[in-house]
């Protein structure tokens, strides 16, 4: 793949929680309009890495980052970079569904309203469109004023996806989006991701090998080799290759479930 097809280039990225180095020297390209999966045993730094991609780690005290993440040719860790604008371009869906304690409508309208959209008609259209894209519209169109927190777990997660879609991001990050919901809801979300791939670049962290194999185009495998060491990128490539013919023996052992 050529550099032009990449939405993001991660170059020699290391991140520290205070004195603790959580990930080290990670270099990885995120191709546009593809799904990239991050896999690896618990604690290897998948969440840390994915949260580096929209600078969510800035919210945590004492976090320090080395290296760079290039988004459309611009290093998002350059001084003066606008993180607020960044997060509108790079949306995020979390492990635990976390709708706001507001109505379904207000949940979806939250981002557009922050962006300054005030007209009711415009907001209505965005809400409907986003809920449709998140495959939730038919289930909730009758009760948009109900609290978003009253939906089932799977519905809540799709609401969170709709909420992200509503701000029209370019990249969507998923941190184990299905780990807290049932298989049927998981299936729905996987279908949804396949659908969204046409318009969005996506990164998904998952513990589920089948899921990574099913939904992703590229896969990166991270690993902490010794207790206390930072997580490092072991292997990265097309998902097919990684799952059928990995170069590194540690990758093979992990995806065949022999450790981690």
């Amino acid at each position: 793949m050529s550099a032009n097809d990449n939405k993001m280039d991660i170059n020699n990225l290391s991140m520290f929680y205070g004195d603790f180095k959580a990930i080290e020297d990670i270099s990885l390209d995120i191709p546009a309009q593809r799904i990239t999966a991050l896999i690896g045993p618990s604690g290897c730094g998948k969440s840390t890495l994915v949260r580096c991609l929209n600078r969510m780690n800035d919210l945590i005290n004492g976090v320090r980052v080395e290296g760079e993440v290039i988004l459309d040719g611009e290093n998002m860790y350059a001084p003066g970079y606008d993180t607020i604008a960044l997060r509108r371009r790079v949306g995020m869906v979390f492990q635990r569904p976390n709708p706001f304690p507001k109505s379904i409508y207000e949940n979806v309208a939250y981002g557009p309203k922050l962006g300054g959209i005030k007209k009711k008609g415009e907001l209505d259209a965005i809400v409907e469109d986003s809920l449709k894209k998140a495959a939730l519209w038919s289930e909730v169109k009758q009760n948009l004023q109900e609290s978003g927190q009253r939906l089932s777990g799977g519905q809540q997660q799709r609401l969170c996806i709709a909420r992200v879609i509503a701000v029209e991001p370019e990249v969507i990050l998923f941190d184990e989006p299905c780990s807290a919901i049932d298989p049927v809801a998981t299936q729905l979300i996987e279908d949804l991701m396949a659908e969204l791939k046409r318009n969005y670049t996506m990164v998904i962290v998952t513990h589920n090998m089948q899921q990574a194999a099913r939904v992703s185009d590229y896969t990166a495998f991270l690993l902490v080799q010794e207790q206390g060491e930072p997580g490092r990128l072991i292997e990265y490539g097309e998902t097919n290759t990684i799952f059928t013919n990995p170069e590194d023996e540690r990758t093979e052992r992990y995806i065949t479930g022999r450790f981690g």
Binding site: N54, M56, L59, N61, I84, A85, L86, R87, R88, G91, M92, F94, R96, N98, P99, F100, P101, K102, Y110, G111, L114, G115, S147, C160, R163, V164, V167
Partner: protein, 300 residues
Amino acid sequence: MSEGPGISPAATMRAMVTGDRDRWVKLLMFCCASVSFLGVLLIFLFIFRESLPAITKVGIPKLFLSTDWRPASGHYGMLAFTFGTLFTTVAAMIIAAPLGIGAAVFIDQVAPEKVGRGVRRVIELLAGIPSVVIGWFALTLLVPFIRSVTGSSGFGMLAASLVLVVMSLPTITTLSAESLRAVPVELKEASAAMGATRWQSIYKILMPSAREGLIIAVVLGMGRAIGETMAVQMVIGNASQATASLLQPGSTLTTRIVQDMGEASGVFRSALFAQALMLLLLSVFLIISIRLISRERKHA
């Protein structure tokens, strides 16, 4: 050793002993609960009984709904003081609620952890200062200050309301900070991930999520303000008029009671108990509203 349903004698003994201990603990708890319940009930009954002479002799309208307080000539209307209590409390809340919630936001969300903890300690310390000290402080600094700025006597509703701000601030701040802290960090993260600034997250997500907790904090602060006596008495001027002017002297129910209870006897004394009854009704009202708020929260 038999495998059957039989339990060893030792185990049975142990069960009996612990069962016994449980029973004793239960009994003790029951006694404690009954004592406090009876205590409250007794206070209620006592105050009601003591205010009966005034209620029967003066009549409810003239006792509760009149502002005419001239005890020496047989006029015992308490409305001026009920109004004084509500007025100073509401005036205090208008300042203390935003201030307390703002301080809570600062402590919990804005300040670096150490600074936040420091501010919190200071505010908690404020709660520990006896009200007579705050009253004295207000008498020697606040009242002259109001006097020099406004040309009034300095004593009055404004001084009282400001004292109540100080008295209710710790309650409002600590409880608000607690309810803000109880908001899941996932919500804050979700908001930040949507491209909200810190202030937008606080204002649009954090505060609405903690809404009931914040309201309860303010209501409890009101309770504190309604009951405050000493510090208010020192600065309110203790006039018997009903006034909505911030610079005029007035009275609250509590200050009227302490001001006059030393000298009062007969119906006069009973009328003061009727004021105490009014105070109780106000706090019962507050407690009921807290109940309703928390119930609403459970339903949401």
